[in-house]
Subunit: 179 residues, 4 copies
Amino acid sequence: MELPLAPEWQTTTWFNVPEPLTLSGLRGHVVLLHAFQMLCPGCVSHGLPQAQRVATRFPDVKVIGLHTVFEHHEAMGLASLRAFLHEYRIRFPVAVDLSGPDGDPLPRTMRAYAMQGTPTTVLIDAHGRLHRQVFGVHDDLLLGADLGLLRAHAPSPAEPPAAPTIASKDSCAEDSCAV
Amino acid sequence: MELPLAPEWQTTTWFNVPEPLTLSGLRGHVVLLHAFQMLCPGCVSHGLPQAQRVATRFPDVKVIGLHTVFEHHEAMGLASLRAFLHEYRIRFPVAVDLSGPDGDPLPRTMRAYAMQGTPTTVLIDAHGRLHRQVFGVHDDLLLGADLGLLRAHAPSPAEPPAAPTIASKDSCAEDSCAV
Amino acid sequence: MELPLAPEWQTTTWFNVPEPLTLSGLRGHVVLLHAFQMLCPGCVSHGLPQAQRVATRFPDVKVIGLHTVFEHHEAMGLASLRAFLHEYRIRFPVAVDLSGPDGDPLPRTMRAYAMQGTPTTVLIDAHGRLHRQVFGVHDDLLLGADLGLLRAHAPSPAEPPAAPTIASKDSCAEDSCAV
Amino acid sequence: MELPLAPEWQTTTWFNVPEPLTLSGLRGHVVLLHAFQMLCPGCVSHGLPQAQRVATRFPDVKVIGLHTVFEHHEAMGLASLRAFLHEYRIRFPVAVDLSGPDGDPLPRTMRAYAMQGTPTTVLIDAHGRLHRQVFGVHDDLLLGADLGLLRAHAPSPAEPPAAPTIASKDSCAEDSCAV
């Protein structure tokens, strides 16, 4: 089955990056697009921390945040988002989704991907094809499996990252028992 | 780089399976061997629940528990292990590692794999090669990535499992905001 | 030792209550004042959920939120706070702390209590005296013990709430083993 | 309402204490009796850690563990319990409940208190009266409130413990924002 190409995103302001990024410009890389709203509790407690874990554990994956505001627009303007990203220490590139045409409360990229809400996690392979799109809390094991698969098929697959395990040397510590 | 073959395991009693399993008999499948002790706190709180998650999320992966007792032998006998597996509802096959020769407190499979303690997570590819061995608490994203990679290279790669996401329909619920 | 009276608070807008509340008007009740900022991660993840637990478990305790913005003022205005309270389903009364005089970034109640930052949890006894003030993440057991003590000395001490325990009837379930 | 006296416990082996303790010998102290089984998942994940937190936070409260085995007796003998207490670093006194008469699978103290299963948390006031008994997972805030109340009425009430809060000095750290 041939997967469809992921739509190019339509954005205004970008944070954490000197110039706007395009999806086509990231061809060759696995992309995780994380659509969120700064006042969406599930995004703050689950989605964004998970995106940050991916960015930390898989430096070869391009993690992009997309602020897809579809409610309380007046409460989540640029100044609020800037402070939010600062306080929550979000370091990966974040774009603001372009407002929809008159009468459409949904911004344009959100509409183009037919997202059902936030958080939404979108996985795009190295050829720009939409591999998977998940609305709601996603599972680390399943997300990891998708990333492992996509990275295996990327042009220059990165080495699997070394596992940063925490193991104690002190007989049975909280996390493990050493020989 | 050619990976070494994983050593065949040496076991006594098996639980949750009608007959003993051999590693060679599982050729063609990705295998996750989880070495634990029933009184190892990190195994109970992290390792075993993670192995159960893998067994649930990836039915094509063969998850095998290995009870590698290297201390408090008198406290973790067969009757205790049987009750433990029952109370903790562990349903995947579990084997007891064969005791070492006189003077060796470590059981034989644990010794053959040069494990440093418990929990230890061992990933074996469909060709029986030792892909990765991690001592201590392992990370779901990294473990998932390894599984995704190994499953992609298995003879009959399973479909990536559908993501069981939890998303509310009720505007902003705890986990998500719906359009 | 005689405890000092807690300073009266100075506020502007109130949410979740038809009219502004005064501390003196709450005499006779144990009061928990929770000072927070809507973009303070520790408030969102720990402080506010704890205040909500107190409001739910102890209906006789008056839980009051106080929005004490001392940074990113432009990002945490009324519209943003209103949306935040809605999305996070905060139902107890919340007041906005009155801005300080020119040149003081700290609002007035925050200054009067000499708070060190957010979250800050303030416990005031039924006589209006400042019993304890804690900056940072507070512990449920210790907070509960203070509440138990203060409620015991309130004019009409409430009955200790019945314990809403979760116990299974199904032999050993996740949380308990029934006889 | 006059509360009933808590029944004296009937025990065999004690751990973590040089001589057996009696309930009557602890008169004058608030007592938390925590009944558990070492293979009860809810005890291991919730009950025992909570009892340890109480022992740490309230040195004036006497925390006593009671091993009330009513199933899998052969799996939870003395050697297993000893290893369990060692591995889980349980430092407060722990007693083994005395087996019931022939035909009764419940041990005697468990029977005398009419416990419904494990974990069970029993609070006894400084006069030896049974203040509350909770089967299943208990709530830290509610347990703390009971402890605060009972400690307030103890002959020599301890000072409320200083709150060990964790607050950062680094503007907005994970847990708090400092002025």
